[in-house]
Symmetry: C2
């Protein structure tokens, strides 16, 4: 590929899409996208989310859920019980991320080999 020749110094300056900037302020944080992906399956209790996402800490999950609630993607529901339990689900805005997540999943199946994921200590 003769990449260098495709760069035109006189072209208008490249600039990043403002909508995508907003997306990645949110999804460009570790775990956020995965939490949304799990919740697209069904609402879940905190402990279920922790089990579904290997290696996430309790503190991190809690922080990310708060950010997602502030951004209007996640709702927190208290089930009075007993036992009292808190579950998390997606709002309409959160559910609407599904087509984008599906595209990302398809892309990864094709272009990100599984071996790239292995981290020392993992079974892979």
């Amino acid at each position: 590929m003769e990449l260098g020749q495709q760069v035109d110094p006189h072209a208008a300056c490249a600039s990043v899409d403002v909508a995508l900037t907003r997306v990645f302020e949110l999804l460009g944080k570790r775990w956020t996208g995965l939490i949304v992906a799990v919740l697209t399956q069904r609402p879940s209790y905190f402990a279920e989310l922790r089990r579904a996402i290997p290696r996430i800490s309790e503190r991190m999950l809690s922080d990310r859920l708060t950010e997602l609630a502030d951004a209007g993607l996640v709702v927190r529901e208290v089930d009075p019980g007993p036992p009292l339990r808190v579950s998390y689900g997606l709002t309409e805005a959160g559910q609407a991320l599904r087509p984008a997540l599906d595209e990302l999943g398809k892309w990864a199946e094709r272009y990100l080999p599984e071996s790239g994921l292995c981290v020392e200590g993992d079974a892979c």
Copy 2:
């Protein structure tokens, strides 16, 4: 929304999609998605990328480009010049992220209000 009632404790455990886990190992880092988004427009020099992405540091951009190259999404091309310049472009795998980025952009246009982006000191 009666969210609590939708949680079925006897349902199979939720688990995160392995392909999406790989995606967010990559895109769940600050700036990575935006760098790819800029490069979908055209190959760019390092300085152009810095200008296109407000607030990214030189070090951070360099680290992220290295990670993207390691993941097979970005290629680095040296233009012998003079002046000698290095440009960055997307591989086929990188370009193939475009449909997913388009979906994310459409989602943000609809569900992430612009005001959510404002950071102290920014003009917004």
